[in-house]
Symmetry: C2
């Protein structure tokens, strides 16, 4: 029987292989700090479960394909703090940011078309783009420059005659890089010159530190016809398992295309939309508190990383990741050592080897991604364990 070429090009997640090693370490009694995936330890705001517990309809029925009025209205209100006026027809609720991206890529990509991304990139883009028959093009970003890539020439170099969109994760996963509003404008200008879509994957929007201001491609009115935002409650509200996301655009063509797919799959889950509407009604205090917590963790992680001889890393400006170059030849070999052989006072740490985040995995062979999803004390210990592990590994 036939398996499609696009399926063959997709990869299984390598996390599984390493996770097995982590489980074995735990079975030996070793405590494993897991800073490899973006699953925060921060409690989901209780209003989420409260709203769901209070749902009292007898039938858990289909909702509108575009999402419930209640949730869409809450999202519209949320964006007012950014000075953005959306209408209902600009928003379609999806099953996580993942489905939002799948729908967008299916709507804009034909066989052989290309989406360009800052490289390293959020590796699941690859599965979504391949599903749509497309390929990923690389805008080079380097550890030495904090992975900042927002330069006209660098972006234009990546554009080919098959490029259909520039996709920007900002704040960035896996790098923590953040685009300023002026940089977003410059990227839109390039997109306009080359007749491309701009996809702003902004699921970490509020998680920016120091002098960065939360921003959105949606704030650029003059480019609204080519901007597509994908978003999600997962990180913003520490509700990864809710699987509520959305596609947002003022361009009617993309919304019509996304709606066709949305209607095909009927709707997003009813209860999770009820909970998500409550989350979107949280006040600014919530964002301030979470931002403060992640900033503390970021500072601790960076401080500890700087104690590692030979490390290359700039202080990340947003999200909750940092991608770090280490003085090793094969980061996977080092991770296997950490899980199989190393422990300090009965503890070790699991990070994400960075190869999979690169269009060319070889570029990530000496890099790891850390997600600062544990509290500050645990993050300090996690990075200390990497430093101690590296000393042992070098011997």
């Amino acid at each position: 029987m036939h398996i499609s070429e696009k399926s063959k090009k997709m990869g299984l997640s390598p996390i599984r292989r390493f996770n097995e090693l982590a489980i074995k370490a735990e079975e030996r009694g070793t405590k494993v700090y897991r800073v490899n995936i973006g699953q925060p330890d921060i409690a989901t705001p209780p209003c989420f479960m409260e709203a769901i517990r209070n749902y009292d309809k007898d039938v858990i029925a289909y909702m509108e394909s575009r999402g419930t009025d209640d949730l869409v209205d809450a999202v519209i209100d949320y964006f007012k703090r950014y000075g953005i006026d959306y209408e209902k027809r600009n928003i379609i609720i999806t099953t996580g940011g993942s489905e939002a991206l799948q729908m967008v890529f299916t709507t804009i990509l034909d066989e052989g078309d290309e989406v360009i991304v800052a490289d390293p990139y959020y590796s699941n883009y690859s599965t979504f783009v391949l599903s749509a028959g497309g390929t990923i093009g690389s805008i080079k970003a380097d550890a030495e420059e904090g992975y900042h890539y927002a330069e006209r020439e660098r972006i234009e170099q990546a554009i080919t005659d098959r490029t259909r969109a520039i996709c920007c994760t900002t704040p960035g996963n896996p790098t923590g890089d953040v685009l300023t509003l002026d940089e977003m404008r410059m990227i839109c200008e390039i997109a306009k010159e080359h007749d491309l879509w701009v996809i702003g994957d902004e699921v970490y929007r509020e998680f920016v530190y120091d002098d960065e201001e939360p921003a959105s491609f949606g704030m650029l009115d003059e480019y609204a016809d080519r901007v597509i935002i994908t978003d999600s409650v997962s990180k913003r509200f520490s509700a990864c398992g809710a699987r509520i996301g959305m596609v947002i655009s003022k361009n009617p063509d993309i919304m019509r295309g996304v709606m066709k797919i949305a209607q095909g799959r009927l709707c997003t889950s009813t209860l999770e939309q009820v909970g998500a509407a409550a989350l979107y009604r949280l006040g600014d205090d919530y964002y301030d508190e979470v931002r403060k917590e992640y900033k503390t963790r970021r500072d601790v992680v960076y401080e500890e990383l700087m104690k590692i001889p030979g490390v290359v890393c700039k202080k990340p400006k947003g999200a909750f990741y940092v991608t770090v170059k280490l003085p090793v030849d094969d980061i996977e070999d080092f991770l296997i050592f950490m899980l199989n052989e190393f422990s300090d006072n009965g503890e070790t740490v699991m990070f994400a080897p960075a190869g999979d985040f690169y269009v060319n995995p070889n570029r990530g062979m000496d890099k790891m991604r850390i997600a600062y999803v544990l509290n500050a004390e645990e993050m300090r210990r996690s990075v200390e364990l990497i430093r101690l592990g590296l000393e042992a590994y070098k011997k």
Copy 2:
């Protein structure tokens, strides 16, 4: 900016247009019986919400990409009543049957590949198949024969050199046709001869009446290597808004392909899986009760339909649909009449015009689908309204 060819080929749901007319009728004070969509009025078993209300984790976190152990175990136990032994690796939980179908089609179809289905068919297949770059091929089914299509010659006629799978919805939407286990075996035999996958979309599995026995393609051990089952809690447990489905197969190639996509989109929603696990643990009493209710409705609908002069319809054997040929030239025109002009004692009815269920919509111009999703009394009145409306329309 570019919109993909596959997106352009997809259609928006026509339901919306008619729904607007229904809303206007309601605004004029007319009661509209809605038998146009497969959203049952039957209460979701309370164990669903109970399980969710009792969920007490602070963080609504990502679950495993394949689904929670708890839900997968419950599904494995459920299938034991069919004498089928599944293991964990044979099951991947999805966001509704919709995502299950999308994942399967993406895994087996390249650009220009074909899936053949009994025609009329569940029209959302079209969106999923087009998303994967494929096309739908037609196995002809006719009102005069109760849409029963399980004949070797008829199926083989539909196979081309680009056919990759035979997709069987059984019990069927929109026809209520049911395959016997022997017919399933014959279809698998054809698939084997032509090296095709068999996709069994079995979301209505228990809803068979009279002397039909619930059955599954999964019961055919000798063809397990080519059988893919898609399933869902939506209809079985009247939980359409839960969006929990699954892909099931003993073929490791398809499961590996589906898992790649499943990992890309991370997971299905956490709470809905908690609720779904409780649903899958319901005993046989539940199925008996629901089957009895739908059978009563089916009998009432058929009895009333037979009172309409010129109607062509055989008594459907399963699911909760019947597709009926009426003595009209343009069923959409008749539906518009029903919503805009007709009422009897302040009541009218909204059915689904059948054009969209056909590969060639012209074949459905004189047919409607009725979903018997309201109670028996309301269903009787709904069909009566169609009869009275038709009399008025003919004048």
